[in-house]
């Protein structure tokens, strides 16, 4: 296997100290190659560590334990030139399509800055051409966009500009942290379509972070479900959503209101996530306190990832299946996907 583009090795991130410490991400291993462009969704409720994962991958924060590696080198040890490449190749789109704009400037600022700093164009005219092409790719008319202030544009337009910005840099991987959760539902499809265009036509891989399984189903090939900083389940997106195996994934799917009158959505009572009573360190399965299938063994030790048919599941209900042991046995989810799925996103997950 060639060196992955970006790799997380046993990454743990703890915020705070002592009593008030929060384990935002726990022993997370994950790699994304560059042979085939893929879209990997990371889903989980708020507070499950998704943004922490994104910020670790972008080098905005450092892991408390473990390593984040770009082309084989720990982010903290990148040379100046490597760091530059890292910044260009690994890009991001954020949740808040307003906050990412400096209110002082017109939206042009967001598009000209990367061109200047990465010397992507040799002349002003070329810069303009690049910007116009990128805007057109995400379905925007440059004449309606350039020269405007962010507050003069709609949320959908603002978010598509940030996608155009990322595209300018021709990255290999874009980490999209809830890119549509603050955008109007009717505009979501347009944004997701832009992401798909970048993926299919420009060969850019995506880590698509969301709390909404519907959009994960719509655009991703692989899906990782996080619960309190731990992988609950991972596998091909369609498989995981249609046949959820982890009780938490099952809960998530059942919680989506559908037009089906037989769903009895209002009736099922679910234990709350212990909001506010944050046990910083748990011994057993983090989901045990809410799980309808909880067994004595669940309280004792954290379940490993079991390789079931079609997915990797961290739950003792599947203890008959072989475990995916750390180090020697990482599982290639692309292989799990089998026939029917396009490409083979070379992603590996371990725990």
């Amino acid at each position: 296997m060639t060196t992955p583009l970006l790799e997380l090795k046993h990454v743990t991130k703890v915020f705070g100290h002592g009593e008030g410490a929060t384990v935002a991400l726990s022993d997370f291993s994950f790699a994304i190659g560059e042979d085939a462009a893929t879209i990997v969704a990371v889903a989980g409720e708020s507070g499950s560590g998704k943004s922490t994962l994104a910020r670790l991958m972008l080098g905005f924060i450092s892991p408390s334990a473990g390593e984040v590696r770009y082309r084989g080198t720990d982010l903290r040890r990148l040379s100046r030139a490597e760091r530059r490449n890292f910044r260009r190749e690994i890009q991001a789109i954020f949740q808040d399509p307003f906050g990412v704009y400096n209110p002082f400037y017109r939206v042009d600022h967001l598009l000209t800055t990367p061109i200047k700093n990465f010397k992507l164009a040799s002349s002003r005219a070329e810069a303009r051409r690049q910007i116009e092409t990128a805007l057109a790719t995400v379905g925007l008319n440059p004449g309606e966009i350039l020269g405007r202030y962010p507050h003069q544009l709609s949320g959908g337009q603002r978010q598509r500009i940030t996608i155009a910005r990322a595209l300018l840099l021709r990255p290999r991987l874009i980490i999209a942290d809830e890119p549509v959760s603050m955008v109007d539902a009717s505009l979501r499809a347009t944004i997701l379509e832009s992401l798909l265009t970048l993926n299919r036509e420009f060969g850019i891989s995506f880590i698509y972070i969301t709390h909404d399984l519907t959009t994960a189903y719509q655009i991703s090939e692989q899906l990782i479900i996080l619960y309190r900083g731990v992988v609950a389940e991972a596998g091909p997106a369609k498989q995981v959503i249609r046949h959820p195996q982890h009780p938490y994934t099952q809960l998530l799917i059942r919680s989506i209101p559908t037009p089906d009158p037989g769903q009895r959505w209002m009736e099922e009572v679910v234990a709350s996530s212990g909001e506010g009573t944050d046990a910083a360190v748990w011994q057993g399965c983090p989901f045990a306190s809410r799980c309808p299938h909880v067994m004595p063994m669940c309280q004792e030790e954290r379940p490993p990832l079991y390789l079931t048919e079609g997915a990797a599941v961290s739950c003792y209900l599947y203890r008959e299946s072989p475990t995916i042991e750390e180090g020697d046995l990482t599982v290639t989810l692309g292989a799990l996907a089998g026939a029917g799925s396009r490409g083979n996103g070379s992603i590996t997950v371990g725990s």
Binding site: L58, G99, N102, D108, P114, F118, I131, Y149, Q152
Partner: protein, 306 residues
């Protein structure tokens, strides 16, 4: 909005200066919606006009001792009266305004300059540097300022000049700006657009100057006005104690002489009235300007008012 939208090759508009020019052009509208700022500016300009244009109209030589009959109450000839050394109060005030404002400007600029540099360094870099800067500012803030100033000013040998008093005041004018600017930077640093700037390949200094600084300009403006005000106050305090420039008729020195000659006990109320009145107007105008700028910087205050 005055944004033209052609479909062909729009010019890319992205520089601090274009934006500033646009803002300055739009300033007229802001002023109309910001009566505090407008009133403050009008008052300040009127005072400064008195100080700068006054000498063209009245004879400021009468600000020297023994140039007029002493102890005259206000009259047609001496609008603000005269004091015991034989100086004309109006001439004194006209001479005093620019001197006092000069002290304020020098001390305020130095204080705010140091404060801005330290505040940005501390706020943006964080870590040990920040801890040192923050503690230094906090410790200095707890020291009774006037006391230090008195000690320093009293230890100056020979004649005290306007610039010297300004420097003395400046030495204690940086802590407050440091602290407030640091906390502003701390909150701006967490904005998503700062992360975006990192992704766009910007370096630390670039982020400070191109992303953070422009957004803090109105705030820095308000802080500057505040710093000038505090410096003037501190300077007047020193002068009233007799530690100011004995040869220059600053507003504070005029008060010192009024105290020295027991003006109030002797019923020479105009000796006090002239400098105190001018100082009050000066402070009200500075306060209004600072509050107006604060409103500009804080859209939240703007909304809360309506």
């Amino acid at each position: 909005m005055g944004v033209t939208t052609g479909t062909m090759a729009p010019a890319l508009r992205d520089s601090v200066f274009t934006e500033l020019r646009t803002r300055v052009r739009g300033a007229g509208g802001h002023l109309r919606r910001n009566p505090k700022l407008l009133l403050g500016l009008v008052m300040l300009i009127a005072l400064l006009a008195l100080g700068t244009l006054g000498p063209l109209v009245i004879d400021t030589d009468t600000a020297r001792p023994m140039s007029v009959i002493p102890d005259q109450p206000p009259s047609r000839e001496h609008l603000f009266g005269t004091e015991s050394q034989g100086r004309d109060m109006l001439a004194l005030v006209v001479r005093g305004i620019p001197l006092t404002v000069e002290i304020g400007l020098i001390a305020g600029a130095i204080g705010l300059g140091i404060g801005t540099v330290l505040g940005f360094i501390g706020g943006y870099t964080g870590g040990i540097v920040d801890t040192i800067i923050r503690s230094a500012a906090d410790i200095m803030l707890t020291v009774p300022g006037l006391l230090v100033l008195i000690v320093v000013a009293a230890s100056i040998e020979g004649l005290v000049s306007v610039e010297m008093i300004a420097l003395v005041v400046a030495s204690l004018a940086w802590m407050f700006p440091t602290r407030t600017i640091r906390s502003q930077v701390l909150s701006l640093r967490e904005r998503p657009y700062v992360e975006m700037a990192k992704l766009n390949g910007m370096s630390g200094p670039q982020i400070i100057f191109r992303e953070l600084m422009p957004n803090l300009l109105p705030y820095l403006g308000a802080s500057f006005v505040g710093a000038v005000g505090s410096a003037i106050l501190a300077a007047i305090g020193l002068e009233a104690l007799g530690l100011g420039p004995q040869n220059e008729p600053t507003l504070g020195m005029t008060i010192y002489w009024a105290i020295f000659y027991s003006a109030l006990l002797r019923g020479l109320w105009w000796w006090w009235a002239a400098p105190v009145g001018v100082i009050v107007i000066l402070f009200v105008s500075l306060f209004l300007i600072a509050a107006g700028l604060d409103e500009l910087a804080n859209p939240r205050l703007r909304r809360a008012e309506s």
